[in-house]
């Protein structure tokens, strides 16, 4: 198959920038926007979707590239191949419906929190688009981390609830840690292949072979998989997802069903062409996926909270997605992703409506809502049928083709346990998921209302808190739209449309792929029917099954284990820093002053240099320089023997100004100016803090501590003097001085920076990245001083 043509496109960055622009707007204007903040985010999602839909035909690849850090080959590279474009459209499309829903759903929430909510939601959407569209792996990692951060803010939306804070923190810790490991894997891959571009690696068989032959390949893949497994809540990192259900329901629907947790499988899809033939690929992915799938399905059946049920089944489906990529079934996977986003998004949104209406999500207290909530009921039925895999919904097509795939994929039989085990496990998981779907939909909407605490809607309205009918678009629109999507794609399966779609959106196209609404008789259909019958039986016997003791339940809940681990890490950190950072300035200074001569001495020793290589003689010093040195000596003596703090500080200031006079001698106006100003400013500092200092200690000149200080000072000054003298040795000077060398910094400054003051051009232009870091530290220091002193004063005022 010839690679599709690549077209340069400026639409890609625009589609990516829209949500971020919306986030900035919402965050800056804050509460002034009020309700319209949600509309802005929804409009950004719609705009991005339209831009992505408008990209040229599905057989071409659009790309946009800007050099970013060209020295190490990092590019701001966006690329929309069919798979990436599909995922991006999933993100922006579902994002639109979720935003639309959230406008009404969040209407009665504390409005002080809303700018943060909409800002984080929009930024999250942008970052997910970034993951979908990045071609550069470092760029992808960057967006990956933004999703972790923004999801932290979204999960912890109700920041006055301890459970919300703990859940958000847990999710952040697990996913951000995984993100860092992912970065390690990315760097390893780039190290071996020499590029960060995924398309450049995947499109070049020689590079792929070089990567797979490298001994680093399993390590790199292992690191990437840790990132994937943490993000998409795979066993053994599955525990953060149920705890994240403290998030507002639109967030759960968007992050924890439709998009963020699918970033893991998405990345697997990206890595499939690269790592797919590594021996560890299939066994690792298939076994992790299998365990996650079964564990999620089993746990889901036992939950009674609507959102917990959905979270557990989502975990199960994520396991299935990982399993499928383990067997290289890319088309199957893309279709599963689409189907799951549609039905699970819809069910989450329905759960939110139920929660708003009945003020509970507990299945044991719900029932009989079909007459009060007819349209959500319809959406839930459609979505539930798709979840259970009943024709004519998309879920049926997906399940049929999935069984087909399992029975014919060669990789499956190679997997430990063989084809029979895999097929059995998958059917079993499907049976449970279908029974759970029935439990969810029937338990909520059929039967009689069980709870006396439920109020009739009219009564609630009279009491003035009729919050299930807020202003804004009706809540049922979004779930119904998503569920209808599942129905439409299912019905279109009667034609070739859905097959074409699956082929077009997959990360890798191999054999012709076929799904059809009209089932062909064969083993898949029998499996499907047997599974359906088993699901019905399981649903009917649910009471008995729920009473079986849970074998997967243990006293060591993984989330608690994790939290204990983090807590002990904090204790360890405190212990270490109490030892190292004991607050004694004397000790800090000694450590600093000793490490310099050790490092410098080591370097001199390695270079084979000693005092014999010094060529300058003191006779070259002009007489006024010598005079300055004498003055310096006197000032130093005064500083050392001072009996009051004021005396000592005046003496050190004098030393500073005398040193700057030396720069006059050596005609170095730049450093002179800086030195004088710094001396002035630090004198002001000393004056300001002088009165807060404790009494000047009386010093015992013969004590061991004092002798130690003298020893440290002597070693430091001897080695530094030697170093400075050596720097004037002719041969060393040219070699070391990168400024004077032809083509060095001096000529570079004039050439590229257009400035004659090389020092300044180096600071603000050539090495501006360094300066960037330094000024950031400076600002952080200022803010810390501000915060610490303010906090101290506030405490003092309160006491």
């Amino acid at each position: 198959m010839a690679p599709p043509p690549t077209i340069a496109s400026n639409v890609l960055p625009a589609a990516l920038a829209l949500p971020f622009a919306a986030a900035a707007l919402v965050a800056l204007l804050g509460r002034r926007l009020g309700r319209s903040a949600g509309w802005i985010v929804a409009a950004a999602a719609a705009g991005s979707s339209l831009l992505l839909l408008g990209l040229p035909g599905h057989d071409a690849v659009s790309s946009f590239r800007v050099p970013w850090l060209p020295e190490i080959g990092v590019e701001f590279a966006l690329r929309a191949d069919p798979f990436g474009r599909f995922f991006a459209l999933l993100v922006s499309g579902v994002g639109f419906f979720v935003a639309l829903y959230a406008i009404s759903y969040m209407a009665d929430d504390d409005e002080r929190r809303m700018p943060r909510f909409w800002g984080a939601l929009a930024a999250f959407m942008g970052a997910m688009l970034g993951i979908a569209l990045s071609d550069d792996m470092l760029l992808l990692f960057l967006f990956w981390e933004i999703t972790s951060l923004s999801s932290f803010l979204l999960i912890g939306h109700h920041d006055d609830e301890p459970a919300a804070r703990a859940g958000a923190l847990l999710a952040l810790q697990v996913t951000a840690l995984g993100g860092l490991v992912l970065a390690l894997g990315v760097l390893l891959v780039a190290q071996v292949t020499g590029t960060f571009s995924m398309s450049a690696i995947g499109g070049d068989p020689a590079r792929v072979r070089a990567l797979l032959d490298s001994p680093l390949a399993p390590v790199a893949l292992g690191c990437i998989l840790v990132g994937v497994f943490t993000k998409s809540a795979q066993f053994p990192f599955h525990f953060w997802l149920p705890r994240a259900m403290v998030a507002p329901t639109p967030v759960s629907a968007y992050l924890h069903a439709a998009t963020m947790v699918k970033a893991g499988p998405f990345l697997l899809g990206r890595m499939l062409p690269v790592f797919g033939s590594l021996p560890m690929w299939t066994p690792v992915l298939a076994s992790v996926g299998l365990v996650t799938m079964l564990l999620g399905a089993w746990k889901a059946f036992r939950e009674t909270d609507l959102k917990a049920i959905l979270a557990r089944t989502t975990g199960s489906t994520l396991g299935l997605l990982t399993l499928l990529y383990g067997f290289g079934a890319a088309e199957q996977d893309a279709l599963q992703m689409l189907n799951h986003a549609l039905y699970k998004g819809a069910l989450f949104l329905v759960a939110g409506i139920v929660d708003h209406h009945a003020h509970t999500r507990d299945l044991r207290r719900l029932g009989g809502l079909r007459r009060e909530l007819p349209l959500p009921f319809l959406a839930a039925v459609l979505a539930g049928l798709s979840m259970a895999g009943v024709p004519p919904l998309l879920g049926f097509l997906v399940k049929e083709s999935f069984y087909e795939e399992l029975l014919h994929n060669e990789a499956v039989s190679g997997f430990a346990g063989g084809r029979a085990l895999v097929v059995f496990a998958c059917v079993l998981a499907n049976v449970f998921v279908a029974a759970v779907a029935a439990k969810f939909v029937l338990g909520t909407f059929l039967g009689e209302r069980r709870d006396a605490a439920h109020q009739a809607p009219g009564q609630a309205a009279r009491e003035g808190h009729d919050d299930h009918r807020p202003s804004g678009p009706p809540l049922w629109i979004s779930p119904l739209a998503l569920a209808t999507g599942a129905l439409a794609l299912g019905l279109l399966g009667a034609t070739d449309f859905t097959s074409h779609l699956a082929g077009a959106i997959a990360s890798r196209r191999a054999n012709p792929f076929h799904v059809s609404l009209v089932p062909s008789p064969g083993l898949p259909l029998w499996l499907s029917m047997a599974g359906m019958a088993a699901a019905v039986a399981l649903y009917l016997a649910r009471g008995r099954v729920e009473r079986i003791p849970d074998l997967a339940e243990s006293h060591h809940r993984p989330d608690r284990l994790w939290e204990r681990m983090v807590a002990s890490l904090a204790v360890l950190g405190e212990d270490v820093s109490m030892r190292w950072q004991n607050g004694s300035l004397r000790r800090y200074l000694a450590a600093t002053l000793l490490s310099v001569p050790v490092l410098a001495g080591w370097a001199l020793f390695r270079a084979g240099l000693s005092h014999r290589d010094v060529v300058v003689s003191l006779s070259e010093l002009p007489w006024f320089g010598l005079f300055l040195c004498v003055l310096l000596g006197i000032a130093t003596m005064i500083a050392v023997t001072a009996t009051t703090r004021l005396q000592a500080s005046i003496a050190t200031t004098t030393i500073g100004f005398l040193v700057s006079m030396l720069f006059v001698v050596y005609r170095s106006p730049d450093i002179l100016l800086t030195q004088i100003l710094i001396e002035t400013v630090s004198t002001i500092f000393v004056l300001l803090v002088l009165l807060f200092m404790p009494a000047f200690p009386r010093r015992d000149m013969s004590g061991p501590a004092h002798l130690g200080a003298i020893a440290v000072a002597t070693v430091f000054s001897l080695v530094l003097t030697l170093l400075l003298l050596l720097s004037m040795t002719p041969g060393l000077r040219e070699e070391a001085n990168i400024a004077v060398r032809p083509g060095g910094l001096l000529s570079l400054a004039l050439e590229k920076g257009g400035g004659a003051n090389a020092v300044n051009v180096i600071i603000v232009d050539i090495r501006s990245l360094d300066t960037n870091g330094e000024i950031t530290v400076l600002v952080a220091v200022g803010l810390c001083v501000y915060a610490l002193l303010r906090a101290r004063r506030a405490r003092g005022a309160g006491a």
Binding site: T680, L688, N757, N760, V764, S768, L778, G782, L789
Partner: protein, 133 residues
């Protein structure tokens, strides 16, 4: 510190504007002659310190200096980003040609540095002066 000696106040009246002018000059000559954003920032902070010593901390404390520092960081970093929009690497230097004036974009970076230095130093000065003893 409420020394507020009349001599210091009289000196300050002339010294502060003069120092600020010198700072401005030093800022702009930094490209070719000794000077630049860092030194200009320190000079401005010195002017602020004179004001603080002469007229008390009240006036200087009305400004939220940490915001000046954060603004400076925004200026510097955003100056690094916009070459990327033109297809150049992060922090790439460009020249703006406004008639007879040729301005390297690094000037804006330097402006950010100056704001950061002033903001941070003044934050510390003011906060230390506000401490009760």
């Amino acid at each position: 510190m409420n020394a507020e000696s009349p001599i210091l106040r009289t000196v300050a009246r002339y010294a502060i504007p003069l120092t600020m002018l010198v700072a401005l000059r030093i800022f702009f000559q930094g490209h070719d002659l000794p000077g630049g954003g860092f030194i200009a920032g320190v000079l401005l902070a010195a002017a602020g310190a004179i004001h603080l010593l002469a007229s008390g901390v009240g006036g200087a404390a009305r400004v939220r200096w940490w915001r000046v520092a954060v603004l400076g960081l925004l200026v510097s970093v955003s100056n690094g980003i916009w070459p990327m929009l033109l297809g150049h690497p992060y922090m790439d230097n460009e020249f703006l040609h406004l008639g007879p004036i040729h301005l390297p974009t690094a000037t804006f970076f330097d402006l950010g540095v100056m704001l950061i230095v002033v903001g941070t130093l003044m934050t510390i000065f003011v906060e230390l002066s506000l401490e009760k003893r």
